[in-house]
């Protein structure tokens, strides 16, 4: 059901852990839906120099967390904000349609951690990444959205 790349990132996840004195921390998802992702960022001069994560969730959730942290390392904050869940899923050679909702969390975790960084610096964003959809959306809504997408 999962691609080899997903299984690789699941069995050997990159960047698991925490960053002490992180510049931005974001936590998204809820246990009710089955996945929670917490992301830590170290940001230097607007560039993400390190990223780490902790995830409670399925294979897809762990693999997308791992891939997302790989993708944003070395990127500027602005570039990282443009990463979509689809891009993360594509980098993993795709996810089964029922698992696309798990990849939303990766995108939202990046946005949430960056929003936290901005807030800490007193910077405001026009596109408010901190308004995390996955946290407030009910499980059913997320599910329906992807049912439609995959239909």
């Amino acid at each position: 059901m999962y691609s080899e790349k997903v299984m690789d990132h699941f069995m050997n996840p990159r960047n698991v852990g925490e960053i002490e004195n992180a510049d931005g921390v974001g936590e998204v998802g809820n246990a009710k839906c089955g996945d929670i992702m917490k992301m830590y960022l170290k940001i230097d001069n607007g560039v993400i120099v390190d990223a780490k994560f902790k995830t409670f969730g399925c294979g897809a959730a762990v693999a997308t967390s791992s891939m997302a942290t790989e993708m944003i390392k070395g990127k500027t904050v602005e570039e990282a904000l443009k990463i979509t869940n689809k891009a993360v899923a594509e980098a993993l050679d795709g996810l089964p349609p029922v698992k696309m909702h798990c990849s939303v969390l990766a995108e939202e975790a990046i946005k949430s951690a960056i929003a936290d960084y901005m807030k800490n610096r007193g910077i405001s964003l026009d596109n408010d990444g901190g308004d995390c959809n996955a946290c407030s959306r009910r499980c059913e809504d997320v599910h329906e959205q992807f049912d439609e997408d995959s239909a």
Binding site: M11, G57, V98, C102
Partner: protein, 393 residues
Amino acid sequence: MSERFVYLDHAATTYVRKEVLEAMLPYFTEKYGNASTIYSIGRESKKAIEEAREKVALALGADVKEIFFTGSGTEADNWVIKGVAYANRQKGNHIITSSIEHHAVLHTCQYLESEGFEVTYLPVDKDGLVSPEDVRKAIRPETILISIMFANNEIGTIQPIGEIGAIAREKGVYFHTDAVQAVGNVPIDVNKMNIDLLSLSGHKFYGPKGIGALYIRKGVKITNFMHGGAQERGRRASTENVPAIVGLGKAIEIATKNMDEYNRKLIALRDRTIDELFRRIPHIRLNGHREKRLPGNVNISFEYIEGESLLLMLDMKGIAASSGSACTSGSLDPSHVLLAIGLSHETAHGSLRLTFGEENTMEDVDYLLETLPPIVERLRAMSPLYEKVKEGV
């Protein structure tokens, strides 16, 4: 990958036993006759079907005329619930079932609600037990069917079927039990237990998939399921799947004969697994009743981790198991059974079901006990929920 393969998902399905396969094989090739014909190979098929029917009847303490073969356990459940509902509409429109039934029963009941029937879904206690008194209180003048599963497929809890049967009989309401998980594991007597209707499925006791049976007590009003030829006395038309029927018959015969020894063996594997996991891993919970449970069933929730991740890692070590987590069900909700016994969504997501079977050994248990704790440890180390617990202590 792992060299070792340990199958711990016998509640999902079993392999076909060698003796069963051997009994089936001739009916694919040389004994291919249609059982409705009068020449010799047709008569041979007919005879084989009737012998299988006798074996099923014997296993349940029923009469051969009360056994009808179906295409699966799901089909038997669909037939019995829709069939009793439609045949007894003049008497009433109310059905009583439990909230932890298999989807084959639950979704059929939900369908009937859309057809104007009323369904009471009885709650269960923390161990997954239905209270016979709750059943009694739920009975109304218009109640036409009580359907309570014999043993639960996820948590293994065995219901007080005899007590519920006695109440149903006293009140004159038909009593059905989905015994798909119980047959071959628990002694069943439809007369002593006052069971009027019972569903079973071949692939849970080392028989083939895609074959089941429905026991219908003589005199019970139920509509025919498949309209067509005269097979199964016109109640379930269609040319019989002779090899599968023969296989089911052979499998139920062996399962009934071996039940005591089989149970003793499975209980030893089950109990050691439960006791040792509790000794080795903190923050876990046993789901289902500790004693009133299927001999081969272990269902444990590991707090702070998610079931699918657990299954994937076990699979990498060659262990096949299952979970009630949402991420394994394809929906976003965890198992309705785990929620019904009062688990939070978090705890339900972290459930693992291990179901033992005939080929398992104590060495398999040893291997599981070596393999599982480090996996749980690793996933917890990755979990943001566990972090909070550690900070808390």
